[in-house]
């Protein structure tokens, strides 16, 4: 008995060791490949009499959708074209994973030099340290700050210090599947314009026997924010000290969303990428999302439309919008910081911003690009560009508590609502209580 047990232990140990070594082997190989690539590039550069050393800029972001492919392409082009020996090593992972890796890596000084983050995260990270102030970027680059939209630059300023340079801005739009509209006898060029129409269309487009949903709703605070604002409601009072969301407007909106779930118009328990997949698979007729699916859907050849989200029945429309920006971490050396600046400067040049707008559908935010003829005549931009005016920014702008409110209260309570565990009235009340708890009331 003892002897065979011993053998088993030996066996298990050796298996795990083999596994560990093979992992290590893989990693070593990968590294070797990366190094080789770097060496090749280095050689190419030396021929043109440029610096002998490469400067590595590690770059994390969460562009997992089809826009990430274009981002990768642009980074590769930068690596090839720059004459300073800068190599930007891009690493794309889901946003959640990135945020989880980021905090410990900032503490241990192993964070990448360059990251992309939503401006919403600025107060939190600026407060706890870890990000380098970027005020000097504008002087260093010699670029004209006035060329860029001020309301896009501002969200990155916290207590008068700039922590990020915008990469893109976006708001949310209604995507609809034209083929499913035709099947349901609706005009594919006439998406719903009001909440009532949305309800009506969604019901018509739902066919559970085919697992086809009319309007997919993600368990995401963004979904409520759009409906709430458009319905004339608010999250907070005007001086942001107290919750104001236990209101009739909120209850109306929550009732509507809960009914979508009850009626089978949307599957329940969906997150945002789930909704993307459902729409891409042709299983949902409508949903609301940022512009990052445009490129992928075009490539797939799906017959889809994109336009304004429906306004409330009184005609009001506000959508949450986000600005994503480049930030440099304290883990960067002086050399690494300047190298990261070079890439940011490359990004906010007219050509790159224009390319990003035309290929991905993200609205333009620099005067040069907005005025560009090609951008103005682009079929998607001519529709989406004007919608930027309905973007209202983040739900809790400039508040370090934003993440906590969302993770601890908004998303869990909204989930309970969709699973029909609480009434809209209770949900609205508990949301307000939760926000007040976090705000210390």
């Amino acid at each position: 008995m003892k002897k065979s047990l011993l053998w088993i232990v030996v066996l298990i140990l050796s298996i795990s060791m083999v596994a560990a070594f093979s992992f290590a082997g893989c990693k070593a190989k990968e590294e070797a490949v990366v190094e080789e690539e770097a060496v090749v590039e280095e050689e190419a550069v030396t021929e043109e009499e440029a610096p002998a050393e490469t400067i590595l800029v590690r770059f994390w972001n969460g562009f997992t959708a089809s826009d990430g492919d274009i981002l990768r392409e642009i980074v590769a082009r930068f690596n090839e074209e720059n004459e300073l020996g800068i190599v930007v090593e891009i690493n794309i992972m889901p946003w959640d994973n990135m945020m989880e890796k980021l905090a410990p890596s900032l503490t241990t000084g192993t964070a990448p030099e360059l990251i992309l983050l939503d401006s919403e995260a600025v107060p939190e990270y600026a407060g706890s340290g870890g990000l380098i102030p970027l005020d000097e970027f504008w002087d260093w680059s010699g670029l004209d700050k006035g060329n860029y939209a001020q309301n896009i630059l501002e969200p990155f300023v916290f207590e008068d210090v700039t922590y990020g340079i915008p990469m893109q801005c976006s708001t949310t739009y209604l995507y609809w599947n034209k083929d499913l509209f035709i099947e349901a006898g609706l005009d594919p060029e006439q998406p719903p314009k009001t909440f009532d129409e949305l309800k009506e269309y969604a019901a018509k487009l739902t066919d559970l026997s085919k697992q086809q949903y009319g309007f997919a709703v993600a368990n995401d605070s963004q979904s409520i924010a759009y409906f709430l604002w458009s319905n004339g409601g608010e999250w907070l009072n005007s001086d942001k000290t107290e919750a104001a969301c236990d209101s009739p407007e909120m209850i109306e909106v929550l009732t509507m969303l809960q009914d979508f779930g009850k009626d089978g118009v949307t599957p329940i328990g969906m997150n945002s990428p789930d909704c993307d997949r459902l729409f891409t698979a042709g299983k949902s007729a409508m949903f609301i999302q940022g512009p990052w699916l445009i490129n992928g859907l075009k490539q797939l050849g799906l017959n889809f439309g994109i336009g304004a989200t429906p306004a409330s029945n009184s005609g009001e429309l506000w959508t949450p919008s986000g600005v994503c920006g480049y930030m440099v971490t304290e883990s960067a050396t002086e050399e690494g910081k300047i190298a990261a600046f070079e890439f940011i400067k490359y990004w906010i040049s007219k050509d790159i911003l224009k390319e990003w707008t035309l290929r991905n559908g993200f609205p333009a935010w620099s005067d040069e690009v907005i005025a560009d003829e090609e951008v103005q005549n682009d079929p998607i931009q001519s529709v989406l560009g004007p919608l930027t005016q309905y973007g209202r920014g983040n739900i809790f702008p400039g508040m370090p508590e934003a993440g906590q409110i969302r993770d601890d209260y908004l998303n869990p309570l909204f989930e309970q609502l969709m699973y029909n565990e609480i009434t809209p009235e209770d949900c609205a009340r508990q949301l307000a209580e939760g926000i007040n708890t976090v705000l210390g009331n």
Partner: protein, 302 residues
């Protein structure tokens, strides 16, 4: 020469040699187990976030808060629920399979090999595969369920079904370890016991009940204790397959620790450490109870 002799004499002492050989393991134990253990005990008394900038000593403040934290108790309940559902089948199923595959024929040996394959696969990878299989729209299980006439089973998105699905997946993934240990245990039971029983007219079932099980008590004890400990630490599968949802119904203690400390702002490392200390105490208490139970069984016999 004298020096060399003295060195060789020193290293020829049994104690010294033992320490030299143990050194690598002790080093990794100290660095990766003991230091973090002590550190997290210490940190649980502070209010500190992951950036480790401002340490505020708050004595047992974190623990007092934990006692009132509904999500902590929910996670505790989920973990206990998981353990209660996971441990009996992983032991019982492993035992049943072990009894069958313990004979050394080629076929049964290959079965042993096949059942062990999931064990050496990565839990994360298997979690992703199962999450796809269980997807209500594109998953294969949903497709089969529809063929059998069950419309619209949501599997991982159904609050009542999510945890059982994770238990099934985990059992499938891990029962091979217990099975192999039990096969070894069964094979080392002296054959004469069975011969004697056969002569006395005991049938297979009675042999199993009165010979196999009692002789296996030490093995079963070992398997049960390690499986219980493992089940209280469950993290990978819930994190990958459901991220604790729907409605925190699959959020386990280990995952709650991770969420509080590393995933949710304001990254409360002190609070997460306090939760970890509580988990440590639970596991220690349960292990002692179960261990004592088996020691008793071993000494007095079944």
């Amino acid at each position: 020469m004298d020096v060399l002799k003295r060195i060789s004499k020193y290293f020829n002492k049994q104690d010294t040699v033992a320490w030299v050989f143990l050194f690598p393991s002790i080093l990794s134990l100290v660095i990766f187990i003991f230091i973090p253990l002590v550190a997290s005990f210490g940190m649980s008394l502070f209010d500190v976030n992951i950036f480790l900038k401002d340490f505020t000593f708050i004595k047992f403040g974190n623990f007092a808060e934990l006692m009132k934290d509904l999500r902590f108790w929910n996670a505790f309940k989920n973990t206990a629920y998981y353990a209660a559902m996971f441990v009996p089948p992983s032991i019982g199923f492993a035992l049943a399979v072990a009894v069958y595959v313990q004979k050394n024929t080629l076929f049964r040996k290959s079965l042993r090999f096949i059942y062990f394959i999931p064990v050496i696969c990565s839990m994360t990878a298997m979690g992703i595969v199962w999450a796809i299989l269980l997807d209500p729209t594109i998953g294969m299980f949903a497709y089969w369920a529809r063929i059998l006439g069950f419309e619209n089973i949501q599997f991982l998105k159904d609050p009542d079904l999510a945890m059982p699905m994770i238990v099934i997946m985990s059992t499938w993934k891990t029962f091979g370890v217990n099975m192999i240990i039990m096969v070894a245990g069964i094979q080392s039971i002296p054959k004469d016991y069975y011969e004697a029983a056969m002569i006395d007219g005991a049938n297979k079932f009675k042999q199993f009940l009165h010979i196999t099980i009692p002789s296996l008590v030490p093995t079963l004890g070992f398997c049960t204790v390690t499986t219980i400990i493992g089940s209280f630490l469950v993290f990978d599968q819930t994190y990958v397959m459901t991220r604790g949802g729907p409605m925190f119904r699959t959020e386990t203690l280990a995952q709650y620790i991770y969420m509080r400390g590393f995933s949710y702002s304001p990254f409360r490392l002190g609070y997460a450490s306090a939760t970890a200390v509580m988990l440590f105490l639970f596991i220690a208490a349960i292990t002692v109870v179960v261990y004592k139970f088996f020691i008793k069984k071993e000494t007095i016999g079944l």
